[in-house]
């Protein structure tokens, strides 16, 4: 790194001049410039440092707003009606208000990841010291923190270095959030630019969290052969006490696992996880199990599988503790961000807490010491498991048939169901003794419980669906590959060329939450389709779980069928939400390691390189959270397009290119300074797709980049055309926009293309050395 805090800590020292105890001394910063790479133009960018770059992107991909609401109610001047051009009392219009909501979502997401990182780093510094070295892949990963290097100009080497990186993030997030105050920003595009900045900061915060935990907890270190982890409710050995961890922060779970290991209990209990805590548990402990994505909280708790429920942070249902109480499973809240109203028992003796939880004197406790969480969780699980006997609150099939007769067919459940599931019809059939329609809802139900909240006769509809689908639930026995973390430098060296030239048709990153329109199978189908087409498929978080939750004809899950290499046809799970920067990092490393572009504080140049050359696309098929918004924003800012499934339209703002506006698609040829029209490549930066079929066609198309060689372009086009014909039943109508010379045309499609090109009055053009930045032009023409 460039500067170091000198920090001296003395526990106890006796000298001739006296006795010193617990002395801590910090003496400013000492510059240590052992990193030879020159500093780029934008280290530690502030709110407006990269505004010009943002505006370039926002001019090409203009926001399309779909306000969820006509009103603004953020201050007491309001509520203001902003319909169709009306301005509110503060002068704001609906475009700016819509972009302010985007900024808020991205800032919340960035704050959440950075807060998570702060907790992890502070905890680890306390445990291991500031000088603990970072190691995310030994000699295989020399560029250990590509995003941090790129954004901040810092090359972190120790845990203590991460502290300074986080200070930068925290400062930026405070400024970003302040922009959302009434009377702070007027232009929608400036709000958007700040949302992109939130995305950049978010990527740094996430990267810090993950490299800190990889280094200290010895998670798989850039390992393509990270172990296969058992996944699914059917893999849980319910004869053992079961501890269930929900959330994202692995620190309390590490406390549990360490306590089990230290007391020779590693095979005596089951530690299972939901959401990203599950992913990170299994990077630490390969006997941990993944139950499933975030949306399965209710089904697992109500099903009675968990003897103790440990809740950390992010995406935890606010009623998880109430649901646990119903099945008499004690709850341990383990995060200061999610105290759930429980009494703080951190400083009480563990055995007292255990006694209170086992006796049911209290339904839950707050414990902020991860080691104590470990001891209490394990002891409670052991004691309570024989008492609870996996008590559950799922009704029997006969009870469902009887209760279904009380349904009034009022439709309120369906009208409150985000999936618009035809629950009334399923209950009508159930009342007549046929449970099949109810079972059919199991795969699409996202477990939100809104139907139950709406039902005037208080039918526990979600429980009915889970019970009706119980057979499938108990048969869920799959594998997820443990999150491997970073991509190795050597992997980048071997595929950098084929990616940039277009011969590997694309990198597909399938990330994010489980708010799917029709269940997780779509994720599996999409990943498999593109792995078979020899794209590089990367996964993380709940999507990584869904990708592994289905099998091929030979009974193999995706992670068994395909290798975990960062190579054509590989399917690699990088890890949890905070592992997403390894995906961005891979693209950044292509620019750095393969193309030898300087990284340090050089954001704009690297983003320009990625945007024009690296055919990467993000798909967040079930994105729901603010964190998913900021993750996406980090990719937009690098010029990487992101697709979301239909529920993602509720982010209310898309960034869309206009393929029909020729003038929007000009780049500089860095060799000559000429402006060259490169067509809509990539066409959009953020787009909602409605169906799995649309997603597949869009992915193939969005991997096209101006820099593709003719060979690369023809490979990419052959995938696009093939998928389009198969799924849309016809040829694409925009092929002429992607052909520069006849050499781009896929060999086997010459005749079809020729006809199309003739009809469109197509003219040959050149393949430039593409850039959006005039300063990158090597020889500008007069």
């Amino acid at each position: 790194m460039t500067s170091k805090n000198v920090h001296i800590k003395i526990g106890e020292m006796k000298t001739s001049i006296g006795h010193i105890k617990n002395l801590e001394l910090s003496i400013g910063k000492v510059v240590d410039d052992s990193w030879s790479e020159p500093m780029g133009p934008t280290p530690m960018p502030g709110l407006t440092t990269l505004r010009d770059w943002d505006m370039k992107l926002l001019n090409k991909y203009k926001p399309f707003y779909m306000p969820d609401c006509d009103l603004c109610c953020l201050c007491t001047y309001g509520k203001c009606d902003l319909t169709a051009g009306k301005r509110g009392a503060c002068g704001l219009d609906i475009g700016a208000q819509s972009s302010r909501i985007v900024l808020l979502a991205c800032s919340i997401g960035a704050a959440t990841h950075t807060g998570h990182a702060r907790h992890v780093v502070d905890h680890l510094i306390e445990k291991y010291g500031r000088r603990y070295p970072l190691d995310v892949g030994g000699l295989n990963v020399k560029v250990e923190a590509p995003v941090t290097r790129l954004v901040t100009g810092i090359k972190p080497e120790t845990l203590g270095d991460l502290d300074e990186v986080l200070e930068y993030c925290e400062k930026q997030i405070t400024h970003l959030l302040s922009v959302a105050h009434t009377g702070q920003e007027a232009s929608n595009l400036d709000f958007e630019s700040k949302a992109l900045h939130a995305g950049r900061v978010d990527q740094v915060g996430m990267e810090v969290a993950d490299i800190a935990q990889i280094s200290t907890f010895h998670f798989p270190k850039a390992d393509p052969e990270a172990p296969l982890i058992e996944m699914g409710i059917g893999t849980v050995d319910t004869s053992k006490p079961v501890i269930m961890c929900i959330g994202h922060n692995v620190v309390p779970s590490v406390g549990i696992i360490d306590y089990m290991k230290d007391n020779n209990l590693a095979d005596k209990l089951e530690v299972v996880g939901l959401c990203c805590t599950a992913i990170d548990n299994t990077r630490y402990f390969n006997r941990g199990k993944i139950v499933g994505p975030i949306s399965w909280q209710l089904r697992f708790i109500r099903g009675g599988f968990a003897d103790v429920v440990v809740l950390d942070e992010q995406c935890v249902r606010a009623d998880a503790s109430l649901e646990a109480e119903r099945v008499k499973a004690p709850v341990i809240a383990a995060s200061e961000k999610n105290c759930i109203g429980f009494k703080n028992r951190t400083n009480d003796p563990a055995d007292e807490i255990v006694a209170d939880l086992v006796s049911g004197k209290v339904p839950g406790v707050l414990i902020l010491d991860p080691e104590k969480v470990g001891e209490v969780a394990v002891k409670v699980a052991q004691k309570i498991a024989p008492i609870r006997k996996k008590m559950n609150v799922l009704p029997s099939l006969d009870e469902i048939k009887a209760l279904a007769k009380t349904c009034r067919q009022c439709n309120l459940c369906q009208r409150n169901c985000p999936q618009d599931l035809n629950i009334p019809a399923a209950l009508k059939a159930a009342a007549e003794g046929n449970l099949a329609p109810l079972t059919d809802l199991y795969e699409s139900c996202i477990g939100c419980g809104r139907c139950e909240q709406a039902c005037p006769v208080k039918l526990e509809i979600h429980s009915f669906i889970v019970k009706a689908g119980e057979k499938f639930m108990l048969e869920e026995k799959n594998f997820c590959r443990a999150g491997r973390g970073a991509v190795q430098d050597v992997e980048i060296r071997s595929v950098g060329g084929p990616i940039v030239l277009g011969e590997i048709p694309g990198i597909l990153a399938v990330v994010g939450c489980a708010n799917y329109p029709h269940g997780g199978k779509d994720v599996y189908d999409i990943c498999r389709e593109f792995a078979l087409r020899r794209f590089i498929v990367m996964t993380s978080g709940c999507s990584a779980m869904s990708a592994g939750s289905y099998k091929n004809a030979e009974g193999k899950t995706l992670y068994e069928e395909f290798s975990g290499d960062f190579a054509a046809g590989g399917v690699l799970n990088v890890g949890s939400c905070v592992s997403n920067p390894h995906i961005a990092g891979a693209a950044i490393k292509v620019a750095n390691i393969f193309a030898k572009r300087n990284l340090r504080g050089n954001y704009e140049e690297i983003a320009d390189y990625i945007h024009n050359r690296v055919g990467a696309v993000g798909l967040a098929w079930g994105a729901y959270s603010q964190k998913a918004a900021s993750i996406a924003s980090g990719f937009w800012s690098l010029g990487v397009p992101v697709l979301v499934g239909p529920h993602g339209s509720k982010y209310r703002r898309m960034l869309l290119g206009r393929a029909d506006k020729k003038e929007d698609w000009e780049v500089y040829d860095a060799r000559t300074g000429d402006k060259v029209n490169v067509g809509p490549a990539p066409e959009h930066l953020f787009q909602t797709v409605e169906t799995k079929e649309e997603a597949m066609v869009a992915i193939a198309k969005l991997c096209i980049r101006p820099n593709d060689t003719w060979k690369g372009r023809s490979i990419k086009l052959s995938h696009y055309v093939d998928l389009h014909k198969r799924l849309y039943g016809t040829m694409p109508k925009d092929l002429h926009l992607f052909i520069r010379t006849m050499a781009d045309v896929p060999m086997t499609m010459k005749d079809e293309f020729t006809k199309i090109l003739e009809a469109k009055d197509w003219k040959e053009t050149v393949i430039p050395d593409p850039t959006l930045l005039s300063r990158m032009v090597r020889k500008m023409k007069e």
């Binding site: 779909m66 306000p67 609906i94 898309m654 409605e690 079929e693 799924l727 039943g729």
Partner: protein, 178 residues
């Protein structure tokens, strides 16, 4: 028949769609439009009436009314399979984004649509696009011919049964034929 949003939470509209009380009224309004388009979403093959998928009702309606169809998602293939060629196909976001651009001259290049009909998108997506058009395309009229009330449209059928819906679509088709 209710003029509450089909999905209960979609209530935050101060300017709400006028209800279409009878299919004949919808037909009269469509006939007044110079450049109407019909945007058809992916539920066209998911929803059934009288044992037939919605898309078949829509093909009859489009043939009778001659309104150019824009198919979203992968619906173009579903239309082609049934012998109907939609005037265009693009993503739902793209058609929404073009409709808010006053300079866009329509799919035939002959003028910006003055009426956009929507049917068969997932309810929440359709609601959001209609909201985008309400706010950012003030000169455009929008109509849904779904059986679910959409407050952000200019005109919408109230919530209705599948039977009502099938009948409305058939009446509209017949009215255009005669």
């Amino acid at each position: 028949m209710s003029c509450e949003p089909w999905q209960c939470a979609e209530i935050a509209a101060t300017k709400k769609a006028n209800p279409i009380t009878k299919p004949e009224v919808a037909v009269a309004m469509i006939k007044k439009a110079a450049h109407p388009i019909l945007v058809v979403g992916s539920n066209a093959t998911e929803r059934y009436m009288e044992g037939r998928p919605l898309i078949e009702f829509l093909i009859d309606f489009a043939n009778a009314s001659k309104i150019p169809v824009v198919a979203t998602a992968h619906m173009v293939g579903e239309f082609l399979k049934r012998g109907y060629e939609p005037a265009d196909f693009m993503s739902a976001m793209d058609i929404g984004n073009r409709l808010v651009d006053p300079e866009w001259q329509g799919i035939d290049g002959k003028g910006h649509p003055d009426l956009a009909l929507f049917v068969g998108l997932p309810y929440y997506m359709e609601a959001l696009i209609l909201s985008g058009l309400k706010h950012f395309a003030p000169d455009l009229k929008t109509m849904t011919i779904d059986n679910m009330y959409h407050p952000h449209a200019s005109w919408s059928f109230p919530n209705g049964t599948l039977e009502d819906w099938g009948n409305s679509l058939k009446v509209m088709t017949t009215k255009f034929r005669c």
